[in-house]
Symmetry: C2
Subunit: 432 residues, 2 copies
């Protein structure tokens, strides 16, 4: 690294990636840090979990993205300490801890699943925050079907093929829709005797809280027409390995609980040693810096900033992207002794898909679209945003193939043998 100011970007999610991209032709040295060596296109994790897409199709290697940018370096590791006084970041990498110095820091650690004070649910539940999660869920579902196919006890068999998704937001709807379609168009043909129950549980009395009422209603209708059982106004009260119990007392025997009921800021927020807002988010100024330390920017799901209407900006990808870009630009402004700019969110709208030809979209806070048109819009948008040309083509082919054939070709149970210790790994560990 040369004599240029050094910007450390923590997190290669949408916020961090857009920040680094904005800095790639600027007179700064950038160090991008992530625990994975790839960026994950999180909106499609549910497709990997339901065997619609291959894992690698929604992952893009960070070094590949910035290959031609010599001012951007990458470090795979987990940030443990942020020392704002010394302006250093400590990263656990390859088993050792490494310290790196920054002039400016952009923290974009994203969010983690929250169980609202019931962490024991996390021992039972599957979540969909990472590629590992998605593959674990895919393996689990397919294994249960293999088991159910050879199970004579009918009650046990039904429990094996009952899948409960908790949370009536976008991810919940998408997951439940994809699960139902996976069964209806694929598994039904391969496991004659099985007839799974797919249940969506939402504590509030409506789905998709952020949408207008008409679209909430449409989404509910679309789910029901797909054969999904929707339980509204009923929270999960107790979870166990082989069942869940709802607040109403109803017990659902199941081995598959998928939790998409809520997220909170990454625990990395605590490393900043600042008072946090609701959801563990870090309060920031409109310029996206932390209050009292303008060399540290926090963006995306981790950041708490109130919109003009007084509500905090939602934890959405476009917010993270736009904040990532602005944080980077504001650093450049300051290096040029220009005035940094305040964040203003350009809201193109929100959309959720619920399976083939089923979706709802609420565009520019005005236009309501449902059904096939909304689904096409959803498809197009995601293909455009997907990182990398090749991934886009492969995803497109997979989607066209799935659409034309109602097939899912990724139904493989893939579990690298975790029990196989490799001496090389141990030798490397002992060196640390």
């Amino acid at each position: 690294m040369g004599e240029q100011p050094r910007v450390i970007v923590i997190g290669a999610g949408f916020g961090g990636l857009y920040a680094a991209r904005t800095l790639k032709h600027q007179a700064v040295d950038v160090l991008l840090i992530d625990r994975h060596n790839f960026h994950t296109f999180t909106p499609l994790l549910y497709q990997v979990a339901t065997a619609g897409l291959e894992a690698e199709e929604i992952a893009y290697p960070v070094r590949g993205i910035f290959r031609s940018n010599t001012n951007i370096d990458f470090l795979m590791g987990e940030v443990e300490v942020i020392d704002r006084a010394k302006k250093t970041v400590s990263i656990r990498t390859n088993g050792a801890v490494r310290q790196e110095r920054y002039d400016y820091l952009i923290v974009s650690g994203g969010s983690v699943t929250t169980y609202f004070g019931k962490p024991e649910i996390g021992d039972i539940a599957f979540e969909l925050k990472s590629l590992d999660d998605a593959i674990a869920l895919r393996n689990h579902i397919l294994r249960l079907f293999e088991r159910a196919a050879w199970t004579e006890d009918l009650a046990h068999r039904d429990a094996l093929t009952t899948m409960v998704v908790v949370g009536g937001g976008s991810t919940g709807l998408e997951t439940v829709g994809a699960l139902r379609e996976l069964y209806q168009h694929v598994l039904r043909k391969e496991y004659d005797a099985l007839s799974p129950r797919i249940v969506l549980v939402e504590a509030m009395d409506h789905l998709l809280a952020a949408y207008p009422e008409r679209l909430q209603q449409k989404a509910l209708e679309q789910l029901k027409s797909l054969g999904v059982e929707v339980i509204l106004g009923n929270a999960v009260d107790e979870t166990a390995a082989d069942h869940i119990r709802l607040a109403s007392g109803e017990v659902i025997p199941t081995y598959t609980l998928i939790w998409s009921a809520g997220v909170q800021a990454s625990p990395l927020a605590q490393a900043l040693d600042l008072p946090l807002k609701r959801g563990g988010r870090v309060p920031i100024t409109p310029m996206l810096t932390t209050e009292g330390d303008d060399s540290v920017y926090v963006i995306g799901d981790m950041a708490y900033l109130e919109a003009p209407d007084g509500k905090p900006y939602p934890m959405l990808i476009p917010v993270a992207q736009q904040q990532g870009t602005l944080a980077a630009k504001n650093i450049v402004h300051r290096l040029r002794s220009e005035q940094p700019k305040a964040f203003s969110y350009f809201d193109r709208g929100i959309m959720s898909t619920i399976g083939r030809s089923r979706a709802v979209a609420y565009l520019f806070n005005r236009v309501q679209v449902t059904g096939f048109l909304a689904w096409i819009a959803w498809l197009g948008l995601h293909l455009i945003v997907l990182m990398g040309f090749r991934n886009r083509i492969n995803v497109l082919i997979n989607w066209i193939w799935n659409y034309l054939t109602y097939d899912r070709s990724v139904r493989i149970i893939l579990e690298p043998d975790a029990a196989k210790p490799k001496h090389a790994d141990e030798a490397l560990k002992s060196m640390e």
Copy 2:
């Protein structure tokens, strides 16, 4: 299952798959058993290991292959006991043991890696026999590069990026070629300071034992032109986590030893309780039945049958395919009281690829082809044989993309969190 004769096929490799396929329109009930729920296109495992193809592209779900065949059932599990007196097979599946009855049994368990009496090598070495192996190797290589990129000690850095492949057969050559290309066309651009050493070690004084001398020589030249270090006539004497030592005394510091020096019949052969031949293979009659029990067929890598020249048929995919088809046909012949047929191998030849535009082929035991032409022949053949239309298109796209851009888009380190115990799994285990 009805009143039809029941055929159990063990193994969904090439032999078992062709056997089951041949039986799909016959008046028999087929139970196909495999420990995975998918068929693996093993000739391309090295491409997955070197980030050229996605794992799912070379795996095809067994239930999908036989979806429209109601007489073919599938059981995911591991065969533990074959009781030829009772005509039953015991399978460990979902943690329990299940017994299944057969009228005819086709055993196609394939082969496993052999370390020639030095099992301790297996603790150190990577192999390429399964999809798990390939992903484990890919993760390992990419992790070493990430580590090397941040390693200042030059000797340690060199050891981290030195990769040794043992075995000068097709798999060894393909792997070493793909590793070299992965570096030359991709990793070199992303890890400026690294300059890996790729070494091929072969105990004999020539490569590709089954090929004519001219092609052996050509293959050696092609490897060298690619920048691969080839060590002939030198065996591996000692392996450790951080180095290997050759018979000559030479020590190569490395954390990556890939073993493709030999295979032997699957240990399942021992379950048959018959005297075994060299390589643990089961001697069979020309009709492909075991000697003394003509309800049991053994095919593919597990079977020992001498060709007219007195040598046993090689452990090659076409042999397994042709034996699978014949074993199934012979069962049908016997059910119709017709005469079973003796095996005769139709040998189209052998080919090995050594990277872009580099390959050798020996067709019909006559025609010798090298270079670009052999490479095109290799590509075409593999695409034709790959199971499943969608897989073929995706693989083709990936290959064209790689060819045009010299890119590898699958360079992601993907390690499902093995430490995350899921209570559901435990609950299911405790039921067993």
